[in-house]
């Protein structure tokens, strides 16, 4: 009796290459939410039922909601205008570099007499803007690349994916430094763009993976056999069905974006304009006062940690809920 190697098994053996695992993880996520020919409602509903009782998700969601609400209403609840310098006359670089807490200023002021509490509150808004736009730009870039690759396939696919793989193979923060230091005149937007760029390959890979998975799925085949145009299939069937994993990744990316923004600010690549406060920037600048006024660093750092944790908790539990493995 002959014993040939099972071709199905041979197919199953994947050859890892560098960046493979990172890619695999993204691909796994891509398939997690996307390929499910059973009505989407049950999937989302099932996920929601699991999430509703998951304390990790609830904690993350609560933090996130509080943060977003705070960011939206910040200018109205902040007791002081963030550019006003009510405590300026108290500031003496040597004897009183940072005015302490006092009536009307529960956390005191910063190094130029601005109300610290107000800046923290309003900082939530800029932080959210950095996080959201960095993720959004990354998402848009990723969607474009991923859609092109996933929808067209063939040589275009492999070309785009080569580029994406090269981007993935450079340590992300390094890529962000590189881009940030390219800027002629640094601003909040250069910060956002440099963080967005490191998100592009992740989203691109994610979308392409879920598109590929769907190309062979029943509803796409059905649509195709009915003569639906390719573009319509991509935009009406494939893209919307990839939204689950994208949301998960976006949630996680938001946390990463906020942390990376802080890291870039720390290295002096952040937004040099300090009128509008942002937590990462506040933390970066507080380094100068670390010995005499460590609270200047601790408040924004605490905010960043809590918010990043919130997004991460939410993203991780979403990922788990959408993962077919944990569903069985």
């Amino acid at each position: 009796m002959s014993d040939p190697i099972d071709p199905a098994v041979a197919e199953d053996v994947r050859r890892p290459s560098y960046g493979q695992r990172r890619r695999d993880r993204i691909d796994a996520l891509a398939q997690a939410g996307a390929v499910d020919d059973t009505p989407g409602v049950s999937l989302i509903r099932g996920a929601w039922l699991r999430l509703r009782r998951n304390p990790v998700f609830l904690t993350g969601a609560a933090i996130t909601v509080c943060f977003v609400v705070l960011a939206i209403i910040a200018p109205w609840i902040a007791p002081w205008d963030v550019t006003a310098r009510p405590l300026l006359d108290e500031v003496r670089p040597q004897t009183n570099p940072v005015p302490g807490p006092q009536p009307g200023h529960p956390l005191g002021g910063d190094d130029r007499g601005r109300d610290l509490l107000s800046r923290l509150i309003v900082g939530s808004r800029q932080t959210l803007i950095v996080g959201v736009f960095a993720t959004l730009f990354g998402l848009i870039g990723g969607v474009i690349l991923g859609t092109i690759a996933g929808a067209i396939g063939g040589a275009v696919d492999s070309l785009v994916m080569r580029i994406v793989d090269v981007m993935l193979s450079i340590p992300s923060l390094l890529l962000a430094f590189t881009v940030a230091s390219l800027a002629r005149s640094p601003s909040q937007w250069t910060l956002i763009v440099s963080i967005a760029i490191i998100q592009i390959p992740i989203f691109a890979r994610l979308l392409r993976g879920s598109m590929l998975a769907q190309r062979s799925s029943d509803h796409v085949l059905a649509a195709r056999s009915l003569g639906v145009k390719k573009r319509a299939i991509v935009f009406r069937h494939m893209l919307p069905n990839s939204i689950g994993p994208v949301i998960v990744q976006a949630t996680l990316s938001l946390a990463v974006a906020i942390i990376d923004a802080a890291a870039l600010s720390f290295l002096g690549l952040g937004n040099p304009d300090q009128r509008q406060p942002e937590w990462g920037q506040m933390l970066g600048l507080a380094q100068r006062y670390i010995s005499e006024a460590p609270h200047l660093a601790f408040y924004p750092a605490g905010c960043i940690i809590v918010v990043a944790l919130g997004f991460t908790l939410m993203g991780e539990s979403l990922r788990e809920a959408l993962d077919p493995k944990t569903r069985r």
């Binding site: 310098r85 670089p93 005499e292």
Partner: protein, 556 residues
């Protein structure tokens, strides 16, 4: 079987290690230990950056000069604690009548670290060496180019014309014309005296441009001077430069036997290291930390300010600035008193002119422009420039003695300007990343910048700013009086008599502030230096040119 292989590898490694260890040990026994006659401790100084190399002639930055200053001396020195010129390797100097030939009488008891005698020939060898630079050397020899104007290949444009050893200890230096800068410029660290033999052997002039940097000859890593310390070693991996006491120094030998510079780029880390006791001092402590440092038993040595921070204006970029009323309005709008009090360290002062009061030629009669927003608004209205737009820039990623935190200063100035209705368009660039380019290229209407004096000379301040009509950051060629000012400055600089020269500069200072106002002088800030408990004998220098030979490190 893979296990066996691993064992084998390890065995080899261990054997190799043992062999290496024994070699290393014997090496260590041979060298080390010897040297210092009496141990009087080590002074460890926290440096903010790595030195470029150790030949002061090619050096451009403070971190390098701080190290070389301990090993080298010039013909002229600076009185510790002031900007005053005093004898160093030359005991006397005398110009001829028109101030073009200077006779220097030298000390007769000086030898270089390598045992070579210091004499007039050595002096002339040094000057000729500095003068005769290849292309790369001309750009790297930054300070010579700056003070002397040209090198041997362009001799007629050079201030330096020649050096002659008229006696063993008498040298005559010829210059093209009198200037306030000479001989004061001989206090510059770059123009220090180095051992002719070592220069020769180390191919000191063999500098080459490679890529966008310079590759330095061997001499740059093995400098030989006359100073109280000799070069020890530079441990690049650990970022430590060690200098040893020169026991044969002609003056009082240094108090400490060893001087170590440890590179610690991060400001707050320098403070923490000082508190941990692993360094004995560092430069430019953050003003915020001064009080805390003092409380912890350190002493913060505040130097007299020898700098100027100004708000530069460029009429070519913004024609509205051509109107004196507009410039005056902007000046009245600035609450400099508040800025100095709240943002600058103690000892900082509101500036009345473009130079500090320690420089001769300072005009004591000038009063600061008062803070008067109403007057500012009135003047703007008069000039028809209400609500004018102004592109106003500041540098990032930099801290200078005159502006510890540019952004903070900028923000204060900007707020004041906006308060009188000026619409500020904020621009920034990093210091090394285009800010200076943009300033010199006139891309900003207004910008903040400053200057730290190289030596006691009015021309080193206002001459640098306005003396060169074509190329100055203030765009003075756009003003009708621009050429006049440049000419006046040059004329004043050429006055041989010191008192007359001082009077001439005083007058020009008055004119600049009252009639011209090409820019807005803001303040002078005192840079400080901090040393740990038990450290005595540090004499703060306004030129930030401390010499550490008088320092003692006591036990606690």
């Amino acid at each position: 079987m893979s296990v066996k292989r691993t064992v084998a590898t390890w065995t080899t490694a261990v054997l190799a290690a043992a062999t290496l260890a024994s070699c290393a040990e014997s090496e260590r026994d041979g060298g080390g230990e010897g040297g210092g006659s009496e141990d009087a401790g080590t002074f460890v100084f926290g440096a903010a950056g790595a030195p470029e190399m150790f030949d002061p002639f090619y050096a451009t930055d403070g971190e390098t000069f701080r190290v070389t200053r301990q090993m080298f001396e010039g013909l002229l020195g600076i009185e510790p604690g002031s900007a005053e010129v005093v004898p160093e390797l030359a005991t006397e100097w005398e110009p001829n009548e028109d101030g073009t030939e200077w006779t220097f009488t030298l000390r007769d008891d000086v030898t270089f670290h390598d045992g070579e005698p210091f004499n007039a020939e050595a002096v002339c060898y040094n000057f000729e060496r500095m003068f005769d630079q290849n292309e790369a050397g001309q750009t790297a020899g930054e300070y010579w180019g700056y003070v002397m104007g040209a090198f041997a290949n362009d001799a007629e444009n050079s201030l330096y014309q020649g050096c002659e050893a008229t006696d063993e200890f008498e040298a005559v230096i010829t210059i093209s014309g009198p200037t306030s800068g000479f001989p004061t410029m001989l206090t510059l660290e770059s123009l220090s005296m180095q051992s002719p033999k070592a220069l020769e052997e180390g191919d000191a002039n063999g500098i080459a441009a490679e890529g966008e940097g310079f590759s330095f000859p061997a001499y740059a890593d093995a400098p030989v001077g006359t100073g109280p310390f000799t070069f020890g070693e530079y441990d690049e991996a650990n970022g430590e430069i060690t200098l040893a006491r020169n026991d044969d120094y002609w003056g009082d030998t240094a108090k400490v036997s060893e001087l170590v510079f440890r590179v610690i780029p991060d400001e707050s880390t320098r403070r923490q290291e000082l508190e941990a006791g692993s360094i004995n001092g560092y430069d430019l402590p953050n003003p915020v930390d001064w009080a805390g440092l003092e409380e912890d038993g350190n002493s913060v040595e505040v130097r007299d300010p020898f700098n100027i921070l100004y708000l530069g204006l460029n009429p070519e970029a913004n024609p509205q600035l051509k109107d004196l009323k507009v410039r005056q309005a902007l000046y009245h709008a600035l609450n400099r008193e508040q800025l100095v009090q709240t943002q600058l360290p103690e000892g900082a002062a509101v500036a009345t002119q473009f130079m500090p009061d320690t420089v001769s030629g300072y005009n004591t009669e000038l009063e600061p422009y008062p803070y008067d927003p109403d007057e500012a608004k009135r003047l703007l209205q008069e000039a028809g420039a209400e609500g004018m737009e102004l592109t106003f820039a500041y540098p990032t990623e930099v801290s200078r003695p005159y502006m510890p935190d540019p952004e903070k200063i900028f923000e204060a100035l900007r707020t004041d300007l906006e308060a009188v209705g000026v619409k500020v368009d904020v621009k920034t660039a990093s210091w090394n990343g285009g800010y200076l380019d943009n300033v010199t290229a006139g891309r900003y209407d207004a910008y903040i910048l400053g200057w730290t004096g190289d030596y006691d000379s009015a021309y080193n301040f206002i001459g640098t700013f306005f003396g060169n009509l074509k190329e100055n950051d203030f765009g003075t060629s756009a003003y009708p009086w621009g050429k006049q000012l440049a000419d006046d400055l040059k004329a004043a600089d050429a006055v041989v008599d010191e008192d007359e020269r001082g009077a001439a500069f005083e007058e020009i200072n008055g004119q600049i502030m009252e009639e011209y106002l090409p820019g807005l002088p803001i303040s002078h800030s005192p840079p400080a230096l901090v040393v740990g408990p038990g450290v005595e004998g540090v004499v703060p220098s306004p030129l930030t040119a401390e010499e550490f030979d008088t320092v003692t490190v006591g036990g606690e």
